[in-house]
C-alpha cells in the first residue's frame, strides 16, 4: 500500500508541474495534467505486473 501511495504522490506532483508549464489555456492545462497523471499511474502498474512475473 505504501508503494502505491508514493507512486500516486509522485504522479500527482509531476502532473501538476507538467500540466502547469504546458499548453495555453487553463482547460487544456487541467486536461493535460490529468492525462499525465493517468499515464504515470497506468504505466507504473503495468511495469509492476511485468516485473512481478520476472523471477530475477
Amino acid at each position: 500500500m505504501r508503494h502505491f501511495l508514493v507512486m500516486t504522490a509522485f504522479a500527482a506532483l509531476s502532473a501538476v508541474v507538467f500540466g502547469t508549464v504546458a499548453k495555453d489555456s487553463n482547460r487544456e492545462r487541467v486536461v493535460y495534467g490529468l492525462k499525465v497523471f493517468a499515464e504515470f499511474m497506468v504505466i507504473g502498474l503495468v511495469l509492476a505486473w511485468i516485473l512481478y512475473f520476472i523471477p530475477y
Binding site: R2, F10, L13, S14, V16, V17, T20, V21
Partner: protein, 144 residues
C-alpha cells in the same frame, strides 16, 4: 527563412529581466513566478517542488555530491544525480554548506522508503529546472 526558424528567439536577445527571473526561479522554487505576479503558478509549481523536496527527506532520502573519494567510475556516477539535485538551487546549496542530507546511515538505508526518498529529491530538482525555464519564458515574452 522558414516559419519555424523565424519564430525562434535568439537567447542573446532575451532581456536581462528574463535571466534574473530564471535565476530567481532556480534559487528558490516558485520565486521566479512570484516576482512576475503569477501567484497561481508560483503556488502550484513552487509548492510541488517544495513538497517533493521535503517529502524526499522525510522518506529517508539523501542528496548526491561528487566527492572524488570513491573509485573513478563510482565517483563519476555521482555526477548525473548531483546535476539533478542541483536543480533545487538554494535548498541544495544550504544543505551542502550545512552538510545536511548527504550521508546515509545504515538505519536510514534500511527504511522501505529510502529509494523513494532520493528519487523524490532528484525529481524535485528536475521539476524545478522546468519551472525555471517557464519563469524565463514568461519574462522573455515567449509565453503568456
Amino acid at each position: 527563412m522558414s516559419k519555424v526558424e523565424s519564430g525562434r528567439i535568439n537567447p542573446q536577445t532575451a532581456p536581462a529581466r528574463a535571466w534574473l527571473m530564471g535565476i530567481a526561479g532556480w534559487l528558490i522554487p516558485g520565486l521566479g513566478h512570484l516576482l512576475q505576479g503569477r501567484w497561481g503558478r508560483a503556488l502550484l509549481l513552487g509548492g510541488a517542488v517544495w513538497i517533493c523536496f521535503i517529502s524526499g527527506f522525510m522518506m529517508g532520502g539523501h542528496l548526491f555530491i561528487y566527492s572524488g573519494s570513491e573509485p573513478a567510475s563510482s565517483s563519476l556516477l555521482q555526477i548525473p544525480p548531483m546535476i539533478g539535485n542541483l536543480g533545487t538551487g538554494l535548498l541544495y546549496i544550504i544543505s551542502w554548506v550545512t552538510g545536511f542530507g548527504f550521508s546515509h546511515e545504515q538505519q536510514q538505508a534500511a527504511l522501505p522508503t529510502f529509494e523513494y526518498g532520493w528519487t523524490f529529491l532528484l525529481i524535485a530538482g528536475l521539476l524545478n529546472y522546468l519551472c525555471m525555464l517557464d519563469a524565463f519564458d514568461i519574462a522573455a515574452g515567449r509565453k503568456s
